[in-house]
């Protein structure tokens, strides 16, 4: 990325770091398939930049400068290792000879992200690993959002990188069939980061939701790098639909507002338009998939901003298609609500909820919330109160708790 002329070396180093960290790191990591060594080399390169740029001036192409210095630092590190372990220095020189000096950093972020989303990497560490390698987030920044002690998160990240290296995971882009599967895992990891961010924002306010914004950045990045994969575009659309409603999720008092009660005037029209366009482009590619369906469901809800009504029949159909291929508990709960609304008959939804196994839903709060709503609509108020109590017992977020408490009190009032 060519930086505009700037005379403050610190500011330039910082901007290059933010804009091209992931590009530089993936470029270095691919040379030796060693993420940790690449991270060390890159931080040394940034340190060298801060030490030399103030006196020597900012180079014409800061990113190329950092890539070259990073490659040199990495080569030094590897040469040292090769000598210490009495490895074949000729093989070392062969790898090192591949890159001509001063070649601009290639954009290998997709390959690095796909490695991080390898199914052999612990699923719980994938979101943090991707955020770290692409955006350079450090453990301290992520630990609180992931509700993990920094030491524990750090240990998991170190292990994941050690596994990538020790098992010689392939950095080559997988073939078309394998790519679809790996892409899904990658998007799931980004979705988890997004979800963790927005969950966190229920606790301490939207201004702290940088993780959610980082996840949206990653979604856009993947969609840009894979413009012909419909699921990548559909996923970007999904996060944009969700982001468009961010401001409306809380009221003036800071309390949680559920989707159906949100004021549509507070939804971001521009973002929704972009999301609809992405979804249309995705549909034209004729590669159906779960993230497109989920995005279409969000899109249908956003349709309320135009028509004033929720198109429940369409939403019920979309959920049915989603559940047919990806029967997650969340999707089945969503389908139950949509089916009940589409048929104007709460028992249609309760029947779908009734098919879920008790041990699956026991600790799943959205199930109890959906059940409470449907039971109340069916006039089964006593059971509905029990379901609200269950939902409340499974929620720790203060904002969500206040919302559920109000629902519970309203249900109790009705029985008196």
């Amino acid at each position: 990325m060519p930086a505009p002329p700037d005379h403050d070396p610190h500011a330039v180093a910082e901007r290059v770091a933010r804009e091209s960290y992931g590009r530089l790191l993936s470029h270095l990591a691919l040379r030796w398939r060693d993420v940790s060594a690449a991270e060390d080399a890159l931080s040394e390169a940034f340190a060298a930049a801060l030490a030399t740029w103030p006196a020597a001036g900012v180079p014409q192409r800061p990113e190329a400068w950092l890539a070259t210095v990073g490659r040199r630092k990495l080569a030094d590190q590897m040469r040292g290792l090769a000598i210490r372990h009495r490895l074949d220095l000729e093989a070392f020189e062969a790898v090192e000879a591949v890159a001509p000096p001063d070649e601009p950093a290639s954009d290998d972020r997709l390959r690095l992200m796909l490695v991080c989303a390898h199914p052999a990497i612990d699923a719980s560490v994938r979101p943090a690993l991707i955020l770290q390698v692409v955006l350079g987030l450090d453990v301290k920044q992520m630990a609180s959002a992931f509700l993990t002690a920094p030491d524990t998160l750090n240990k998991r990240l170190v292990r994941a990188k050690a596994k990538i290296k020790a098992t010689r995971m392939r950095f080559e882009e997988p073939g078309p069939a394998a790519l679809a599967e790996r892409l899904h895992v990658l998007l799931e990891a980004i979705y988890a980061a997004y979800f963790i961010g927005s969950e966190g924002s229920l606790v301490d306010g939207d201004q702290h939701d940088t993780l959610g914004k980082d996840a949206v950045y990653l979604a856009r990045l993947v969609a840009t790098l894979l413009p012909h994969r419909a699921e990548a575009l559909g996923f970007h659309a999904l996060l944009l639909f969700s982001e468009a409603r961010r401001a409306a999720r809380t009221d003036a008092r800071g309390d949680f507002v559920p989707l159906l009660e949100q004021e549509v005037s507070r939804w971001d029209g521009e973002m929704m338009r972009t999301a609809y366009e992405l979804l249309a482009t995705a549909a034209a590619l004729e590669q159906p998939g779960p993230f497109q369906l989920e995005a279409a469901i969000h899109g249908a809800h956003c349709y309320r901003a135009r028509s004033g009504e929720v198109p429940w029949r369409e939403i019920a159909l979309l959920y049915r298609s989603l559940v047919a291929t990806h029967p997650t508990t969340g999707a089945i709960v969503g389908m139950a609500i949509a089916a009940a609304r589409a048929a104007s008959d709460p028992s249609a939804g309760l029947a779908i909820l009734g098919e879920l196994a008790p041990d699956v839903v026991r600790t799943y709060q959205p199930y109890w919330t959906a059940r409470a709503h449907l039971l109340a609509e069916a006039g089964r108020l006593t059971e509905s109160i029990l379901a609200w109590e269950q939902a409340l017992g499974l929620t720790t977020h203060p904002r969500l708790r206040r919302h559920l408490l109000r629902q519970l009190e309203a249900a109790r009032d009705q029985t008196h």
């Binding site: 199914p119 052999a120 990497i121 612990d122 699923a123 292990r159 050690a162 596994k163 020790a166 098992t167």
Partner: protein, 120 residues
């Protein structure tokens, strides 16, 4: 007859053995054991295994490949290595098993290697 000795060790012992500076004694105990058992000429084959966190588990269900991080089960003791030995009886195998450092902190499983395939 052939037996496999499976050296199971507590997860924390397996984890620490690599970078712990106090691990010298640990490695020395294994070196002594290996020296003795190889010296007795009973070892057919064997290997130490890398740390369990580098393991990956594969299952195929309904024709679909499922890949997971980690060893097959979360147990307190994990496989750290194995030897196949050729000795006269189970009692000889048990004697070798008891001498293994893994028996001090974890356990050593002794299993006859199936001979059926060769006999048929």
């Amino acid at each position: 007859m052939e037996f496999m000795l499976l050296f199971n060790q507590p997860a924390d012992v397996l984890e620490q053995r690599r970078d712990d500076p106090d691990a010298a004694e640990y490695w020395e105990s294994w070196r002594r054991y290996m020296h003795e058992i190889y010296g007795a000429g009973v070892v057919k084959s064997g290997n130490a295994l890398e740390s369990p966190y580098l393991a990956t588990t594969v299952r195929v269900r309904d024709g679909k490949r499922q890949v997971h991080d980690g060893p097959f089960a979360d147990t307190k003791e994990l496989l750290g290595g194995y030897l196949v030995i050729d000795v006269a009886s189970l009692d000889d195998a048990l004697r070798w098993a008891a001498l293994s450092p893994s028996s001090q902190t974890g356990s050593t499983e002794v299993r006859p290697v199936s001979a059926r395939l060769d006999e048929e």
